[in-house]
């Protein structure tokens, strides 16, 4: 798979631009991904979503369901789309370094 370089850091990614390994995540990754995900600047709200996704993944081994994400962060789905135009899966999970969503998507 491809390796991308950004600000002196290198990341292993797949063809959809998801990190191949959650452990390969670091804050630089967010800066690198934000452009392709249509995000101008990372706000505290973005940060809150990313941190929650990572906590949940570390604790449970899965990404949270959309309703759990909404309930815990307090952001409605509409607000999540405003923060991450590609949505919670392709946008937020990718930035948080979670594995690519699977199933019939």
């Amino acid at each position: 798979m491809a390796t991308v370089e950004f600000n002196g850091k290198s990341f292993e990614v797949d063809e959809d631009g998801f990190l191949l390994s959650f452990d390969g995540w670091n804050p630089e990754w967010v800066e690198f991904v934000k452009e392709q995900e249509g995000i101008a600047e990372i706000t505290d709200d973005h940060q809150k979503v990313i941190e929650f996704l990572q906590d949940y993944y570390k604790k449970n081994g899965i990404a949270p369901m959309v309703r759990i994400l909404s309930k815990v962060t307090g952001f409605k789905l509409k607000q999540i789309y405003e923060l991450f135009p590609s949505g919670p899966g392709k946008g937020a999970c990718k930035m948080a370094g979670l594995p690519k969503p699977t199933g019939c998507v």
Partner: protein
């Protein structure tokens, strides 16, 4: 080819973005005669195979000529369909729920001219481009899926099996001599996209080997609890393995509990299971969705496995023809394939179709399996 912008600005992706406009309103595309008589149809008849006539209160008649489509088609082909619609139908046409193409005209003469024209069109290989048919008690188009053309979980091909089958039953597409319509459907894995679970005859791609687990990458690309929860038989559990002194979080598959459904691969890319020799098709029969006379029914498995034999799947098409012929000869008028099998009894169905009954056909999935066994002394020798 060099990049040509549509006007979309990747610097400002949300600028001038149009969303949530939904599909075009269907009324924009109605032929004038359909629009005029909308909701005022009195009766219809099938004039001849592939040709319908609808009579309206106003006395207007609409003739519909139905022709087969391969479903997977190029823009060139669609343009040719548009050319036909321009030439005969003032630019109007429609596709049916079984992916046939329907052209509508206002007189019998025009319809017959159109039918002749459509039947004359051939591809350079000799296949009909627009074979007219698919009406009444015949075999219409096969509802099918992606197969090896586009999907990542198939156990067989869709377009290939469907072409081979339609070639075998082509006469029934252009005729209406069966006891009732026979719906054939095809799905390339048991996700069963489409209609295989409720069709008179169904072709279903199946695996026969458990998934191969790629322990080294599994935890990186999969959410382990999802893979565990994807299994209908509880054959998967989380575990750790050591490879070259390194410990990996992964899953273990209890192979004697695995029935090769492939759900875990859908959820977890590190568990592929497709296999050239292992994969093949199962045939199911007797399903229907209409409420006519009998209730809707699921189709039942009658052939557990036929190997994949690309490009023509000869064994599979032979068995389908066998089932269709036995049904056509023996069933009563209006009797769907499942109605026929239920009336004569499934032991007779296997006898008449010349199919072998094996232990694979006996349901063993959870409590409801019990209800599929025979709790009566009523059976035929």
């Amino acid at each position: 080819m060099a990049f040509i912008s549509s006007g979309y600005n990747p610097e400002k992706p949300m600028e001038n973005r149009i969303t949530d406009i939904g599909p075009r309103e269907y009324k924009e595309f109605l032929p004038p005669i359909i629009e005029k008589n909308f909701g005022k149809w009195v009766y219809h008849e099938i004039v001849e195979p592939g040709m319908l006539m609808h009579k309206a209160e106003s006395g207007d008649e609409v003739y519909t000529v139905r022709c087969g489509g391969a479903r997977l088609m190029s823009v060139t082909h669609i343009r040719e369909i548009c050319d036909i619609a321009d030439k005969f139908c003032d630019g109007h046409l429609r596709f049916t729920t079984r992916n046939n193409i329907e052209f509508m005209v206002d007189s019998l003469e025009k319809a017959q001219e159109l039918k002749k024209y459509l039947n004359d069109q051939k591809f350079s290989g000799g296949s009909h481009k627009y074979p007219v048919g698919g009406t009444g008690a015949g075999v219409t188009n096969i509802v099918h899926t992606q197969g090896w053309v586009h999907c990542h979980t198939p156990a067989t091909d869709a377009s290939g099996t469907v072409k081979a089958t339609m070639d075998t039953v082509f006469d029934e597409f252009q005729n209406m001599r069966l006891p009732a319509p026979v719906r054939i459907s095809m799905a390339c894995c048991l996700n069963m996209c489409g209609a295989v679970h409720c069709s008179d005859i169904a072709i279903l791609g199946i695996h026969r080997k458990p998934p191969m687990v790629d322990h080294k990458v599994l935890d990186n690309i999969c959410e382990v609890p999802l893979a565990v929860a994807a299994c209908p038989t509880g054959a998967i559990r989380p575990t750790k393995v050591e490879i070259d002194g390194k410990s990996y979080k992964t899953v273990a598959v209890k192979e004697e509990r695995c029935m090769f459904c492939g759900n875990c691969y859908t959820m977890c890319p590190a568990m592929p299971l497709s296999d050239k020799e292992g994969d093949g098709v199962a045939l199911m029969v007797g399903g229907k969705i209409s409420n006519r006379i009998t209730k809707p029914a699921f189709s039942k498995v009658v052939v557990p496995f036929i190997p994949n034999e690309p490009p023509r799947w000869p064994t599979m098409t032979k068995v389908i023809k066998q089932i269709l012929d036995a049904y056509a000869e023996d069933a009563r008028k209006y009797e769907r394939l499942g109605d026929w099998a239920n009336r004569i009894g499934w032991e007779r169905f296997f006898e008449k179709c010349g199919l072998e009954f094996t232990e694979h056909l006996i349901d063993d999935f959870r409590d409801p399996a019990y209800y599929t066994w025979r709790q009566t002394t009523q059976f035929k020798f």
